[in-house]
């Protein structure tokens, strides 16, 4: 009884016990972030230094006298006008088109019953399993046979072929998770499959579409091996090819080389920043009783 009343009237506020696992997690998070940020800081700093400053100062010391001329220099010498333009054209066509085709295919596989649906899904799944390096030689022969070497379609079509399967796979499993009553209600309301897809499924799938768009943009923007094989004319080169050539030619001009790297990476970072706000869960909340 005494003990009970003592604890009842004890006014001292006990400190919550420190969760050491949480502390350890925070420390590891900070360490990992540091490891990831370090090269980026190194590249940005170096891109703003003269060669002398690169040699004379620590890699992580901020540039004292920022040399923005590295950027203009690299842009001109690396033929960024051409490569940047080519990359923009290829990515701007391939990424939205691929995503749209993938989403339509995924909708059909997830929501329209037809015979052979499972086999088709397996075939798509199989497509995600083939490493494209294995296919480079036959791909070249095929594209060459179609007289599409050094053309935009010649590189966009293979990009689509290799990009679509994994997007279809992810999207169809997402679409399967959308309550069937939503599409049934729309069918009763008079919507066709395409209307259901466009008006109901696409808006509901914004988070996953944004995630796929970012991933696809980054991988298309940075793609090197296939472009190297399929684009041989310097005027058709994409940024990674241009950067690689630049590295070969001007590898000792560290400032300009790193400026070129920053310019190559920047669009992907911007796209990420724009679309990451769609990474919000709960877009379907309120649709059905959760």
């Amino acid at each position: 009884m005494t003990a009970t009343s003592a604890s009842l009237f004890d006014n001292r506020i006990e400190k919550p016990q420190r969760d050491w696992v949480l502390v350890a997690l925070w420390i590891s998070l900070a360490l990992v972030a540091l490891i990831w940020v370090a090269p980026f800081v190194f590249i940005v700093f170096t891109s703003l230094k003269s060669n002398a400053a690169v040699m004379g100062t620590s890699a992580f010391s901020p540039p004292v006298d920022p040399k923005f001329a590295n950027y203009t220099g690299a842009w001109d010498r690396g033929r960024f006008n051409t490569t940047f333009f080519n990359s923009v054209i290829i990515t701007a066509i391939k990424v939205p088109l691929g995503l749209f085709i993938s989403a339509m295919a995924a909708y059909a596989l997830a929501k329209i019953p037809f015979t052979g649906r499972k086999m088709l899904l397996l075939a798509v799944l199989f497509g995600t399993m083939i490493p494209f390096q294995v296919m480079l030689a036959p791909l070249f022969t095929l594209v060459n046979g179609l007289h599409l070497i050094d053309t935009y379609p010649g590189v966009i079509l293979p990009y689509l072929a290799f990009g679509i399967p994994y997007q279809v796979f992810i999207l169809q499993s997402f679409f399967r998770g959308i309550p069937k009553e939503l599409s049934e209600a729309a069918r009763i309301d008079g919507a066709s499959h395409f209307t259901i897809f466009r008006r109901i499924f696409l808006p509901v799938s914004l988070p996953v579409l944004a995630a796929l768009l970012i991933l696809d943009f980054v991988s298309t923007w940075n793609e090197f091996a296939m472009a190297l094989v399929l684009l041989q004319d310097r005027d058709m080169w994409t940024l990674p090819l241009g950067l690689s050539a630049f590295q070969g030619q001007f590898s000792r001009d560290y400032g300009q080389l790193n400026a070129a790297i920053v310019m190559t990476v920047l669009p992907a970072a911007i796209v990420y920043l724009i679309f990451q706000r769609y990474f919000v869960s709960g877009l379907t909340s309120g649709a059905v009783k959760g």
Binding site: P179, E181, A185, I188, D189, R199, G286, A287, V288, K289
Partner: protein, 358 residues
């Protein structure tokens, strides 16, 4: 407004039959409730009427037109789903006007119809909200609004109140009934809740295992169940069933309940003398007798306020008694039960079908 005829409708998934030939006639403006336990085929039947499930055999006609091969949108029906199925990215007004928009209705007309339906359901202040910003009851009302806006020939409701809490369910029940009285549109409504069926329906269709057990008005089914399943399914607390043998003494038939005692039987049952039967008696048709009656032991006393539910042991069998009054009884106490013999339902022990009076 329109009629629905369901003729010998069958449904199988592969070799597994779900509906074994169902016939229902639904009159213009009638409120029909399909009720039965999970897996009885009631939702499948409703979805077949809606066009969301294919029909394996038989015909479904709406307003005299066979709709078997028609798409849902061409059947002129509207459906309210159990989980609301509201379009999450659209506002309440857009949700309600979606069907009209797809049909190419003019914007002014859509707005007029949406406003009218919102007025009927008290949704005016919510029209610009998204479904996520609504409570369960409000969402259900929007789902109903979406159906009303289309002014369909038939409303289909698939367990629309199952996701609501008990209090809201009672409120929405009254609202749907009032809505039907106002709109007078034919309604086919599916539920597993017999109270919903009893309180709302013009006609109840009791289903079990893909068969129709009985069709009738709520009170007709309650008072004259065709078999033990219907008798036990409708009513809360459920009907009591006791094993007994019909016997006769000095020209009067009575029911021998084994060790529990004997109760007199109405005259029309004398043709069953000597037969082992199951007797069904509703909890409210049993009372506590001051004198006479059959002795029983009180097991549990459950006062609900308006009435008192007693679980008592009669012989070896446990039954429920509902008393309209408050009683001061305690578990273990002995009471004497009186039975309203006019309310007995005798069932054949083998077929479980009711034995009619002669």
């Amino acid at each position: 407004m329109s009629t629905v005829q369901i003729r010998d409708v069958r449904k199988s998934y592969g070799a597994h039959p779900v509906l074994h030939g169902v016939d229902i006639d639904i009159a213009d403006g009638e409120f029909v409730i399909l009720v039965g336990p999970s897996g009885c085929g009631k939702s499948t039947l409703l979805r077949m009427v809606a066009g969301l499930e294919s029909i394996t055999g038989g015909t479904i006609s709406i307003d005299g037109r066979v709709v078997n091969g028609l798409e849902p949108k061409d059947r002129d029906i509207a459906m309210v789903f159990q989980n609301y199925a509201l379009y999450p990215q659209m506002t309440v007004a857009q949700n309600m006007g979606f069907a009209l928009e797809l049909a190419g209705t003019a914007k002014d007309e859509i707005k007029r119809k949406v406003d009218h339906a919102a007025g009927v359901l008290g949704l005016e202040p919510l029209l610009q909200r998204k479904p996520a910003q609504l409570s369960g009851g409000q969402r259900q009302r929007v789902a109903m609004g979406r159906a009303i806006v289309r002014d369909p020939k038939v409303f289909l409701f698939d367990e629309p109140l199952s996701n609501l809490d008990a209090k809201l369910r009672v409120k929405m029940r009254a609202e749907i009934k009032a809505l039907h009285q106002r709109l007078k549109t034919t309604i086919v409504y599916v539920t597993h809740d017999q109270i919903e069926a009893m309180t709302m329906a013009d006609t109840i269709v009791v289903m079990q295992g893909g068969h129709i057990e009985q069709i009738g008005t709520p009170l007709d089914l309650y008072d004259h169940p065709k078999n033990m399943f219907v008798a036990g399914f409708l009513g809360s607390p459920a009907m009591n069933f006791l094993d007994g043998v019909v016997a006769k003494e000095q020209d009067a038939a009575f029911l021998d309940l084994g060790g529990a005692g004997r109760v007199p039987l109405a005259g029309g049952m004398s043709h069953t003398v000597g037969k082992s039967v199951i007797v069904g008696i509703r909890p409210e048709d049993i009372g506590i007798a001051d004198t006479g009656g059959i002795p029983a032991e009180v097991l549990v006393v459950e006062p609900t306020g308006s009435e008192t539910h007693l679980a008592v042991r009669l012989g070896g069998q446990e039954i429920i008694v509902v008393l309209r009054s408050r009683v001061a009884l305690i578990p273990g106490e002995r009471v004497h039960l009186s039975f309203n013999d006019a309310k007995f339902h005798l069932f054949d022990k083998d077929t479980k079908e009711v034995i009619r009076e002669l």
